[in-house]
């Protein structure tokens, strides 16, 4: 009994309960106006992309007499080059982009956290191997590599794309996790766990990682922005053979059909552009507010 009590001093953090800590977190966040804007933006886009489409199904209604219409009551954001409603496409076009971001962000964070903390805790040759692999991966330009991969392999589902984007983006986070764990593992409670011989996995997952939760969340968000940058860019240029509906594909149509050079197409082009930019910006602002709240000292390391 007493052994367990000594070995888990981190339990103390959970006494407050999830509801109380959420309230605490919101109170801290309310002091960061940009962070609140970011949180609101992220929630808005999540609702827009995952919940609103249930009530507003996708309509592929082509009307050649009403192309490039300005905003009106019937079409809040106007119509595109085939007379389809832009607002409807914006609502139904967020799901794929957000899903890719979530999956890619999750897996790159998972890889980075698992191997980064393993390298730091085990040390020695394993550390050298993992750090070396991360250094190697960091020095490769990712966009050309994924473009080359995409032309040889066939990316035909958003899960495959998300997987590849995750494989590209883990290295930077891994190095930071490793550095962070290296400093955390000198703490007393980790020493205690080690002297009790609780095993590497217990030390990583029960002692160290719970103390890095905020850090991991921040990097998950930043990994999401990187994945969305990649997937939107590749779809805009038509390098991912995606079907269906997403913001990148809307811009791809605009690009391929020359709508960029057509004066009346302003609303049609600005809508997906704003959707992508505002979502990215919300994520970045939320992440930097979280960073300010949880790690005020870390910011100086740039």
């Amino acid at each position: 009994m007493s052994v367990a009590a000594i070995a888990r001093p981190t339990m103390r953090a959970r006494i407050t309960g999830p509801l109380a800590s959420t309230a605490d977190f919101l109170r801290l966040l309310s002091r960061k106006p940009l962070g609140m804007v970011g949180l609101a933006g992220v929630l808005f886009f999540v609702v827009l992309a995952f919940i609103v489409p249930i009530f507003v199904p996708y309509q592929d209604f082509v009307d050649v007499k009403a192309i490039y219409q300005p905003p009106s009551a019937a079409h809040p954001l106007g119509t595109d080059s085939s007379g389809r409603d832009v607002w409807n496409q914006i609502i139904n076009g967020g799901r794929d982009i957000l899903t890719v971001g979530l999956i890619a962000g999750f897996f790159s964070t998972l890889i980075a956290v698992t191997f980064g903390s393993l390298a730091a805790v085990v040390g020695g040759k394993l550390d050298a191997l993992i750090s070396g692999a991360a250094d190697f991966w960091l020095t490769i330009p990712h966009i050309p590599i994924i473009v080359l991969l995409g032309s040889i392999l066939k990316f035909n589902s958003i899960f495959v794309i998300a997987g590849f984007l995750a494989l590209l983006a883990w290295a930077g986070l891994l190095r930071q996790v490793r550095a962070q764990v290296l400093s955390l593992k000198e703490r007393d409670y980790v020493e205690a766990a080690r002297s009790l011989d609780l095993g590497v996995f217990h030390i990583i997952f029960r002692e160290i990682l719970p103390n890095m939760r905020s850090y991991i969340v921040i990097h998950f968000i930043l990994a999401m922005t990187a994945a969305i940058y990649g997937v939107a860019g590749l779809t805009i240029l038509g390098l991912i053979p995606l079907s269906g509906q997403n913001w990148g594909l809307m811009l791809n149509f605009a690009y391929v059909r020359g709508a960029l050079y057509f004066r009346d197409s302003l609303w049609y082009i600005l809508s997906p552009v704003l959707a992508i930019v505002l979502f990215q910006l919300s994520l970045v602002w939320l992440a930097s507010a979280l960073e300010d709240i949880f790690n005020p000292r870390l910011r100086s390391s740039g």
Binding site: L34, P141, P144, L149, L237, Y261, I269, V277, G302
Partner: protein
Amino acid sequence: MAATTPADARLATDMYRYSPYARGRRALVWMWDRPIARSLVRVVITIFLVTTLNFVLIRLMPGNAIDNYIAQIMNEQLLSYEDARQQASGLFNVDLKKPIHEQYFQFLGDLAHGNLGTSMLSQGTSVTSIIAAYLPWTLFTVGLGLLLSFTAGTFLGLLAAYRRDSPFDHVVSTVGSILSSIPNYITALLLVVILGTQLRILPIAEMRGSSSPGVTPGFHLEYLADILFHAVLPVTVIFIATVGHWLLSMKSATLATLEEDYVTAARARGLSDGRITTAYVGRNAVLPLVSQLAIQAGYVVGGAFFVEVILVYPGIGLRLFKSIEQRDYTVMQGIVLLLTVSVVVANLVADLAYAKLDPRIGRAGGANG
């Protein structure tokens, strides 16, 4: 590396006292303590791994480029399998009759001689000459854009740190964070749509390409002005996409430096504010950014892919896009290889520059920044 300083010379003579085995080991340890040697080893390993990956992708993957090409020309030109294989061998620079490991060594050997094969579409044009025609434009625009954004960003970041929490700081930092989270291809799209199509300030169609037809290349004003005219858009996009990063990094680096003891000491000694800002704060804050500059340069060359395609600027990125559309695998492979090598070399330059600028890591140890 030659022994140059007396300490090095002493170390070198010391080594001969030991057995050949120990001498070799000590030489290795001595080399390993130099950050430069470590970076060089990393560069060699990285380039080796990337070329191998390239070889595997083109040659070994199921449905790989060579098999596809053989099947394609057999159908199109009614060749026998043997003839088609012969032709593919010449194009891809591998002799398909040899066992796979010999093909691999031949591939590496050709690469070492700068031989990347010939284009699959325009037969007889070497990949090296294609790269040589397109790469300078990318280097020119990326270099100019980064230089401008680095200068402006570090200057504004320094000012923002000195006037912390003033309206100027808030405006500059917010704008910086907005700019750095807008993807570069979106900036390019917006410039074309707003300045070109809507406001008609810029003649977008005329600005495509690297220079106007009819202007003869050479060192005269007309040509240089023409090049700049065509480079304005890509340079602007690179500037906008990177300036926020420099600004925010410089601001936080300056804030950290301002708290250092040597700055307080300099103030106590009564040095002028101007001198403290340039020689103490600015110099130390900008140091880590200089090493980032080379790394960023490598990444931006890769990221210029999107920008050049959208702006139709004939750099290496647009050429890569074309080769993908045309399934010209040899050109694709060559360009990706070159981009990787350029990023790796940029990293090496960054390491060396950092060692040069920061005397603390010029010598042994502690090179992991």
